[in-house]
Amino acid sequence: MALQGEQASQRLEDLFKEAGHLSTPGLRDHVVEQLYKKSSELTAAGVTYTKSGHDEHSEKLDRIFTSPVFGFPIMLALLGAVFYLTIAGANVPSAMLADFFSWLEGYIAVGFEKAGSPDWLYGVLVLGFYRGTSWVVSVMLPPMAIFFPVFALLENYGYLPRVAFNMDRLFKVVGAHGKQSLTMAMGFGCNAAAIMSTRIIESPRERMLAILTNNFVPCNGRWGTLIVLASLFMAGSLAGGTQLLAATGVIVGLVLFGIFVTFFVSWLLSKTLLKGVPTHYTLELPPYRKPKVFDVVIRSSINQTLAVLSRAVKIAAPAGVLTWILANVTVGDTSILLHIVQFLDPMGQMLGLDGYILMAFLLGLPANEVVLPILLMGYLSTGAMVDVDGIGGLKQILLDHGWTWVTALNMMLFSLLHYPCGTTMVNIYQETKSVKWTFLSFLIPTVIAIFVTFIVAKAAVFFQLI
């Protein structure tokens, strides 16, 4: 029998009202208590122990990994080790890939010539599209193929929940939630995915904190930029082995600075816009488990690496084409690209950067992966058209455009602190359903990025460091 619509919703409302009257505050406790009682009854009936039943192995390890003395040093050491492995391991395959792509480009160029294609087509397809994508692949693929599996192994082993446990004290101090460190860990992979992972945080207030600050963890799309610049400019005069260590040190320092900013912003927000007391929660420390190495490595390489890479290429390709067009269509006597660069240059100089760099960040809004390639294309489109042979050639191009170590440092800082990428902001909107918070998630990092780079630039001049 069909019910009358209005009648039904009336009855629904009555039901809710009646339930409201009957509901008592202590009821939840009663219910949960009863459930626990039933659980232990069942377990008592169905489970027997021949040994202590404890996981002594995990308990022993936890005494080390979560100890107040060793917890943080071990965490830092592991963080450093992961980055060292990534940087050291990625160098050679990166160079090989770059060589391979430029070798291939020679043949492609010949092919275009033989087919009698016009210059502009060659420009768009090869100099724009091909160079843009091959750059992204050769710079991004090797670090990702190392970083993702190593990180996944750590997680699979059960170490990440211990990180959350260690960090919990600090998060409590700034009024945030310990689980935020788990969402931050995901941010190392991809901020957009990390925004969704904040669902594990129960209270809306602390979840919002996690969402608004996640961007201060450099995602995979920014690793390329950070690692390349750190290796080129931060360890220039040192010998081989120490060079790697110095670059690793700079990266670890940047990550720590990002974490510091996270704490600072969390603290500031929980004192102002997001006032409140952190909620209690239980953090479960699962037993350490021998990771299924092969499964984890394959799954994370295939799923994560390919997913992120294909996104990068999908965006890098049109961005490459767009940059080429901007650089080659002239209005008046200069290209559109130069107009933009000249417009942005005063602001860029103030921040210790230049107009090209700001333009690259603007055009790179859809994905951080493309910022460095766009910058490079911008530089190359105006200067003499040389081939970037390997990473050394890259440094020469940057030096030719007046780069110093301060420029590199500020670009790294700007990359670390600036607004989230387009995908992340879309996710933030979808998770918060609020224009205001989405806008704030753009505004807060941007203001901080501008402020910090400004200070660094002024300080460098003041102390005559350059």
């Binding site: 619509g5 009663h30 377990t43 129960e202 799923n303």
Partner: protein
Amino acid sequence: MIEQHTIALAGNPNTGKSTLFNLLTGLKQHTGNWAGKTVDMKAGYFSHKDRKYEIVDLPGTYSLYSNSADEELARNYIIFEKPEITIVVLDATSLERNMNLALQVLEMTGRVIVVMNLMDEADKRGILINEKILMRRLGVPVIKISSRNRTGVDMLLDTIDRMITGEISTEPVTVVYDEETEKKIILLEEKAENIFQGRLPARWVALRLLDGDQRLIEEIEKRFAGRLEDGFAGRASVSTIGRSV
């Protein structure tokens, strides 16, 4: 067209739920999240004995109240999308804590298979589990597996099959609360049953309403308001399941 049966996979975090999911579906799944954590729901497919199944990996949660977006997502899927079978994955090494979730699911649906995962670990630690006793007391199938060593999975698949054919029927245990609460539950349950006519588990709805579950009230209003007369069926709108399904 071959009929496709739906299965939901529920469980606490770190129970090897995702390992089981991967084992069942192989690479026939939609993934894309970072480092193996289920932050959104993943759906996968597998066949067994000429039957096709869609299996949804619910977010790992400790309870199914409205504490977090994750819990709500899992709860809503079981209640409103009505999977034909819900598999509750428990960590065999800490059953007492895990059993809670199983009991909560049993309040929502009787079509449940309880899976004790990580049996290899439990064996190593000398934890002996008598699944027959638990099966009798819970009133639903209880199966020991180790998704890491791939043991017990055949038994699970068989049980799924026999549950679909109706060979196995379940009589889920009811958790009885204190007298006062029970009185209130029975009062509300009757009315809820009148309104929902079997479309929602009335006792569970009564219990949640008594707990003042505002989010559930909103969800019911959203899904039912004014639509009760045109025979609301289980599959309301897929968009509520989550993006990646």
